[in-house]
Symmetry: C2
Subunit: 297 residues, 2 copies
């Protein structure tokens, strides 16, 4: 089916969770006209009103069931561990043929919960836009959040091509690039480049501030410390849910990281000038990555 | 002595090393009129010409001795381990009463080398502006680099107050904030908030890219990976010199970091929901630091 660039891809979108991700999605759906109408629900009683005022939704629903009732697109934008209960609550209220997706940080757990909770008529396709901010909540939401981002899509074994095509078109309309991927493959990959940096940044704040000289060293800390630890200012609930739903890949990545650090530590303690080649290798790898991938997203 | 805001504080400044730091200093000295004339020298044969073309110096000198010969301000802006030989080469050529300082990342080693190399008539005061960039070289230099930055000053036991006052005035003229500090105290503090983040970022790049899935995970990596690893794109020589001249404080900081990571790793492996409080503590500490100190420097 061909669609005009400005014509809606969905008539009624429902967004469950109106924080940074859900709020940004609402703003983007409305800015691009991808959905003719957007209804939002948030567990925080005042959040939906703020989202309404910010133009992230056309209407605020009083419950998950009311939010999804007549939607042809349902997007779960809550922390991963909240998804199971949301899926259970939404399932009986879904319209036949509704397309259901999510924006969660890990995919294997959500896919399993969706398979258990949803009737076959509701098509669930996991999703994860590779975009974010250390700021959380509706106040940080932006219609531009997804511009240029890779947006992972994890179809299930029963996903039909029509539903997948509709979701791909939606992702493109929002300025992002759809990438189909297996849930386990997704979780292993993001463990290394998203979840490991998150744990590394939090540990860096804790270790840097643990010394008696934190008052002084905090005064001296500048842009290097600020950027290296930026993601540590993100939501602790999101971080918790990532750790609990992606433990094995994250532990594997952490083991590699700790071993790399221990090796560098031993070289530094020994006054080994060969540390320079490790720094040179890291620079070459990062600069190569930047050249190939970075789009300031 | 009162000086007009636009009057030069020094008649002839000499900058040894015209990379990111030395080049930025030259631009700032000339933009603020803090020095009436700036001569530069760089070991790279083409660098001084580029600096001249970029307006970072008024003149390029063919040798260290020629650069410092008639200067009343000499600034060493080379990687730390190069300072010893530079000091030895500059010492016999220094004008009587010249004020000598540096921009190096660590201070105890430089202070010891300066004390051994310089005649008493040359006043050496260590310096370290807490500002930088992952980009290196004269092409990345900026007159605004030092704006709002804390600029550490480490006087020696024989430093006189007049020389220190002149250097404080210079730092303020460049838009930075002078902070007097003992060399060992400086090195311990920056180990935690500058050198540890540098090693952490390089190790993160190495660990994240070590897996078989780097091709995929590199495609998914976004702003979190980019910022957490930014400083890993800095000069490997600078990193090497930091590791070799600040080994003990850096090893101590790395031990705390590895222990913190190992603790988080164990909690994640055990599915311990208490990880959330660690992330919450890291966020509170970082956000408190941002409120108190960050000036987007």
């Amino acid at each position: 089916m061909m669609t005009d660039a400005a014509s809606p891809l969905f008539q009624r979108a429902a967004i469950i969770g109106l924080g940074l991700m859900g709020g940004s999605l609402g703003l983007a759906l409305r800015a691009t006209g991808a959905a003719a109408h957007v209804t939002g629900y948030d567990a925080g009683p005042e959040v939906a009103g703020v989202a309404l005022g910010a133009g992230a939704v056309d209407a605020a629903a009083p419950s998950i069931a009311a939010c999804v009732a007549s939607a042809d697109l349902v997007v779960l934008a809550a922390p991963v561990l909240a998804m199971r209960a949301i899926l259970a609550e939404a399932a009986p209220a879904l319209a036949p043929g509704a397309l259901v997706t999510d924006l969660g940080s890990t995919k294997a757990a959500v896919m399993a919960w969706a398979a258990a909770a949803l009737p076959r008529s509701a098509r669930f396709i996991g999703g994860h836009p590779m975009a974010g901010s250390e700021r959380s909540g509706i106040a940080a939401a932006s219609a531009a959040l997804f511009q240029g981002a890779v947006w992972c899509l994890t179809p299930g074994p029963e996903t039909d091509e029509v539903a997948l095509d509709r979701l791909r078109a939606l992702v493109r309309r929002l300025g992002a690039r759809p990438l189909e991927i297996e849930p386990a493959q997704h979780d292993a990959a993001v463990a290394r480049i998203s979840h490991l940096p998150l744990v590394a940044a939090a540990a860096l704040v804790l270790a840097a501030s643990s010394g008696a000289e934190w008052d002084l060293s905090g005064t001296l800390a500048a842009s290097g410390f600020r950027d290296t630890t930026r993601v540590a200012s993100g939501s602790p609930v999101m971080a918790h849910d990532i750790c609990l739903t992606n433990a094995a890949p994250l532990v594997s990545a952490l083991d590699d990281y700790i071993a790399t650090l221990a090796d560098l530590r031993a070289r530094i303690a020994a006054g080994d000038g060969a540390v320079q080649s490790a720094f040179a290798a890291a620079r070459a790898t990062r600069d190569g990555w930047l050249r190939k991938h970075d789009t300031r997203r």
